[in-house]
């Protein structure tokens, strides 16, 4: 459903991504791994159209994403949960979730109930401001905001980075449920290779802006991790 071929992406004149190929099936779970600074975030930003320029082929459900502006890509059903969460600090939890409904094609402005089942804390804190939540709560809000658009694919960038272990567990459960039970397609950038190995159907390992290795989730063995990801 999401497919890149010979994808290049630039900030200014520097090509950050070079000749990247990957694809995700409908209902699939793709993990993106790699050391810091290899271009994982840039890959997700390229899918959203947030880099300065991109070339090559990038298709979503057969449509050329590279010809679309960012809001249109959201409208096509791609939900992006950026690194560092980026909830709107002065918006309440309710406004942040409401914002998630803006790309909806059906024009609905109701926040889907299942978001509060996944993250009960959001219902409790519905009138608090996003900027006043803890990191873990903000991450739940960021995922809730993404789900509010009723997306076809979720792009998550290191959602468990800097978050206390009990919430990490909850976030992992949610990602698994969304993918396995609700059939939502997921592209996950993650440093935690254990979770990717257990949960992803496939992984892509980036190095210096190129694909260094790819395989099925369970092929992301300790050997691979030691070779490509150890510091």
């Amino acid at each position: 459903m999401l497919e890149a071929q010979a994808l290049y992406s630039y900030y200014g004149k520097s090509p950050i991504l070079q000749d990247v190929d990957f694809s995700v099936e409908e209902g699939g779970f793709l993990g993106i791994v790699g050391r810091n600074g290899v271009g994982k975030t840039t890959l997700l930003r390229t899918i959203m159209g947030l880099t300065d320029r991109a070339a090559g082929s990038l298709l979503f459900q057969g449509e050329n994403l590279l010809g679309m502006r960012t809001p249109q890509r959201a409208g096509a059903g791609i939900a992006y949960i950026p690194q560092g969460r980026e909830v709107i600090p002065r918006f309440t939890v309710r406004e942040n979730l409401l914002m998630g409904t803006f790309p909806r094609k059906d024009g609905a402005r109701t926040i889907p109930e299942h978001i509060f089942e996944l993250f009960p804390i959001l219902a409790d804190f519905i009138d608090r401001r996003g900027g006043d939540l803890s990191g873990g709560q903000q991450q739940q809000l960021a995922i809730g905001r993404a789900l509010a658009m009723d997306p076809k694919v979720l792009l998550l960038d290191e959602p468990t980075e800097g978050i206390q272990p009990n919430i990490v567990q909850q976030l992992e459960d949610v990602m698994r449920r969304l993918n396995k039970e609700m059939g939502l397609t997921i592209v996950l950038v993650e440093q935690n290779t254990r979770f990717v190995r257990q949960t992803a159907d496939h992984f892509v390992l980036l190095d210096k802006g190129r694909v260094a290795m790819r395989g099925r989730g369970e092929e992301l063995t300790n050997e691979v991790v030691d070779r490509y990801l150890a510091l």
Partner: protein, 289 residues
């Protein structure tokens, strides 16, 4: 006593006009970071709009307000779409460009209508006035005060109770993420610029019965409005309103007690001292990020 009340009253009505000009400036600066030096000319266009509607079609100023809002708003929209939108990554160039646009608008008006002063009559039902605490309060000035309070409330409603306002506030805080959630920042920018221009136009139309209409009339008003924005900060509508009241009253009083020029110089000095100690203005935007 009467003179006192009279100056307070004149100060408030001046503040009301300033408020509408300043809200436009502040909202444009707060959203796009554009210092709009053409704002005074938007005020002037509004004034000429009211004059034209009255002399050509006999339309009362009260009726012309919505027309002026829409027309000057449209001018703002076109200016944003054709010129400003290309310059968002170059703040210095936007200052130059808006300055140039102001000059062009002013000269256009001079070519079409000449540079002689024009006068607009207040509506008949707003002739006369009331005696408040022994002083005469003209109905028209009262109308200005209530109308601008109405516009303040309308702006608050637009920002905090409509979907457009939510999108605008979202774009202000995080443009990229807003776009990732379906909000077209371009559209928001153009409409915000149009709204600010429309408010300036209304201020220009409202003031016509009190001053003469000339191609350069917007300049001094917009200088005061800039002072309002600097003193109030761009964070809150209440801050802008309070600051407009302060500048309006100070202007009325100082030009009454001393004279116009000395008054202006003192206000300018006061503002300079203030920003030396409170660079964010009196009502800064404080939020945890």
């Amino acid at each position: 006593m009467e003179a006192w009340v009279n100056e307070i009253f004149i100060g408030i009505s001046l503040a009301s006009i300033l408020l509408m000009v300043a809200i436009g400036l502040a909202i444009i600066y707060g959203t796009m970071g554009v210092i709009n030096l053409a704002h005074g000319q938007f005020v002037m266009l509004g004034a000429y709009g009211a004059w034209l509607l009255q002399t050509q079609y006999g339309v009362s100023i009260v009726v012309s307000l919505p027309v002026v809002f829409l027309v000057v708003g449209l001018v703002g929209f076109v200016v944003e779409r054709t010129i400003i939108q290309r310059l968002y990554h170059r703040p210095l160039d936007t200052i130059l460009a808006t300055w140039g646009i102001g000059i062009v608008l002013e000269q256009l008006v001079r070519n079409v209508f000449g540079s002689s002063s024009r006068y607009v009559a207040r509506p008949e039902f707003l002739e006369g006035g009331y005696i408040i605490l022994g002083a005469h309060a003209s109905s028209y000035r009262l109308f200005i005060i209530f109308f601008s309070l109405g516009m303040l409330a309308a702006t608050w409603y637009l920002l905090f109770r409509t979907e457009f306002g939510t999108k605008l506030r979202s774009v202000i805080q995080n443009t990229e993420i807003s776009e990732c959630y379906g909000i077209s920042a371009k559209r928001v920018y153009a409409l915000t610029f149009a709204y600010g221009a429309g408010l300036a136009g209304i201020a220009g139309a409202l003031i016509t019965p009190l001053v003469s209409v000339t191609p350069t009339m917007g300049t001094s008003l917009v200088v005061d409005a800039f002072l309002v924005v600097i003193v109030g900060g761009v964070g809150s509508l209440v801050g802008t309103a309070a600051s407009a009241l302060m500048i309006g009253e100070a202007t009325a009083w100082l030009s009454y007690v001393l004279n116009d020029t000395t008054g202006r110089i003192l206000i300018l000095l006061g503002v300079i001292v203030l920003i030396r100690f409170r660079p964010q203005g009196l009502f800064p935007d404080t939020v945890r990020r």
